[in-house]
Amino acid sequence: MMEPIALLVAATLSAGTPLALAALGLLVNERAGVVNLGAEGIMLVAAVAGFATAFHSGSTSLGIAAGALAGALLAAVLGGLVIWLNTHQGASGLALSLFGVGFSAFVGLGFVGKSLPPAPPLVLPVLSDLPWLGPALFRHHPMVYLTVALAVLLAWFLDRTRAGLVLRAIGESPESAHALGYPVRRIRLAALMAGGALCGMAGAYISVVYTPLWVEGMVAGRGWIALALTTFATWRPARVLLGAYLFGGVTMLQFHLQGVGVQVASQVLSMLPYLATIVVLALISRNPDWIRANMPASLGKPFHPGR
């Protein structure tokens, strides 16, 4: 009985990884005051870019790097629109998302039906052979560990470094940061591109490592879940990680239960992340202190220097 649970834990970790990566990226954006509704489209374009690169180069790492690059570039386009031209953030992001769905399908036409060799997990000398913990925690692709490390790093960056403080200040009150002499627009762009790169890595992880093939629309709503996750996690990196494993685990648990013979409607489960997010939103609007929310005060608002 122990073994299936260890494997369920392992499957949950790898299913939660793309969600966590993308949500961490979106968290960086949002802490700087920019909301990026383009996540789904960015992930798809990055997935096809990553797949194409890995397919031609034979290298998983290059594929993921290409995904990150594609994500950063797309985010930069969004940045140009919402930071300099001050277009509506929500509408621009949605447009980017819809564009990404179509564009990735078009670019990926030549890759439909091709596949990559499976990416081997990282085997750690002693840890991977531990009786229960080994299969559960220590036989994963390096990206799984990298994601955890990134979450820790990000928490440290936001709470403990000066640069993190500036980023948060820009998300809270861009006017004050501007008055202090910080280049608000450029920092917002940097944050947006960093976030885009993380979303891109998430997309490439799906097409290169998780399911090593390309098919149209294969991100299948994970970008939206990641977006919901930042709110669900009240803009805290550690909670993002937990939330991602929770949402990833829900799917795996549902399949596990089916295998054991318990039927749960998958449609209900796919609603859960959004329902949970709405509950959190309702809680925040009652009293943010209840859940120690960290919502940036100027989230989603354009910034006009000199006004």
Partner: protein, 384 residues
């Protein structure tokens, strides 16, 4: 000030979550694709007598390596067979829905004499158009409604599933098989049952676990479902979904799996045991010949191993000789009609006898299968 802004943002965020709910729902379905003009595939050089124009409508891209790919291969075979007597064309990636009717009507009005619709969801639109174009002959795959000028055709995929089951039953060490299933309709349930019947014909200890993903094509979900089955002890997997994800997941985990719809051996050479492959070309040739010779009649056509419409191919070297022989016996039996897969005694999951000894299921029985046979675990979703 800040408080007011937060309020405004929260409202926006609520709207966004609602929108994303709706969008995520859409994401599971086929994305509407930009309408493509009916791409004529190299019309044959105009011969003296007017060639018969034959059109195909596909639900996916021709490069999907599965369902649509198989249909397009058959189209090419037909073109080769009849040469300049016919001219074929196809329209790909037509979603099931209002667009389909427009495309079918387009094709009918362009002077096509024979139109093939290759997915279940084209049934109603095709029926509508068929009533307006009495001179055109329509062929619809996997449906159940016919008209004077509209015929249905299908492949007995369950015969492929049964032969795969024979191999699975002998190759499993854990006596646990896993099926990644798509949508709980009789066709899929019949395949799961036949797979299990095949396995239990050589190994009565076999149990089959089933995981439904409620989609035909969602590779990450297929991977997750396959992983979940292997985690629970399944060491040979089969799938009724359209991608190669299950085979690849098995390859990664060092377990066995099958190819479905097309030969998938190259996607997981270590895991691949065999592929159940649909071949539409015998039927497409017949349909075109019927139309050319003026013998076309409506009806419901269900072809199997006997007519060459389904087969188990690329059997791996890992499969021992005696098992191959057994598969060969089944194939020969199906071809000559001396063997029936659905022949009593067959019991359902609860132990109730659904087919008495020596009773052979007719097509109506097969079309209505909504129960699991003995050996399949779990419950049919929505069933009782």
């Amino acid at each position: 000030m800040i408080e007011a802004n937060k309020r405004a943002w929260l409202k926006a965020a609520l709207a966004v979550s609602a929108a994303s709910l709706a969008l995520a729902g859409c994401g599971k379905k086929e994305e509407p694709k930009p309408a493509e003009p009916p791409a004529a595939a190299a019309p044959a050089p105009a011969p003296k007598p007017e060639p018969l124009k034959v059109a195909f409508i596909y639900v996916g891209p021709v490069g999907d390596a599965g369902w649509t790919f198989a249909h397009d291969n058959a189209r090419k075979a037909v073109e080769k067979e009849f040469g300049d007597k016919i001219a074929t064309s196809f329209v790909e990636s037509v979603p099931e829905g209002p667009d389909a009717e427009r495309v079918i009507r387009d094709l009918a009005s362009q002077g096509n004499g024979l139109v093939f619709g290759t997915t279940f969801g084209y049934m109603e639109p095709m029926l509508k158009v068929a009533q307006q174009f009495k001179d055109v002959r329509f062929e619809h795959a996997t449906g159940y409604k016919t008209a004077e000028n509209m015929r249905t055709y299908d492949s007995r995929t369950y015969e492929g599933a049964y032969m795969a089951g024979v191999i699975a039953g002998r190759m499993t060490k854990s006596n646990t098989l896993g099926v990644v299933a798509s949508i709980p309709i009789p066709e899929v349930i019949r395949n799961i049952d036949s797979f299990t019947l095949g396995a239990r014909s050589v190994n009565p200890k076999v149990k089959t676990k089933v995981v439904w993903i409620n989609a035909w094509f969602d590779p990450p979900k297929e991977t997750e479902a396959a992983t979940s089955l292997m985690n629970q002890g399944a060491d040979v997997l089969m799938q009724n979904t359209d991608s190669s994800a299950v085979l690849q997941a098995a390859e990664k985990a060092g377990k066995f799996a099958f190819g479905w719809d097309s030969d998938m051996s190259k996607f997981g050479p270590g895991a691949h045991l065999a592929s159940a492959v649909i071949d539409w070309s015998p039927y497409y040739k017949k349909a075109v010949r019927d139309k050319l010779e003026g013998t076309w009649k409506t009806g419901e056509v269900w072809w199997g191993v006997k007519e060459g419409a389904i087969d188990l191919v690329s059997i791996s070297d890992k499969v021992p000789e005696d098992v191959r022989k057994k598969v060969e016996e089944v194939r020969e039996g199906l071809k000559s009609g001396t063997f029936s897969i659905w022949k009593g005694p067959i019991k359902d999951q609860s132990g109730k006898e659904v087919l008495a000894k020596d009773q052979v299921a007719d097509d109506k029985f097969l079309h209505d299968i909504k129960f699991y046979v003995q050996g399949v675990e779990g419950k049919v979703p929505g069933g009782n």
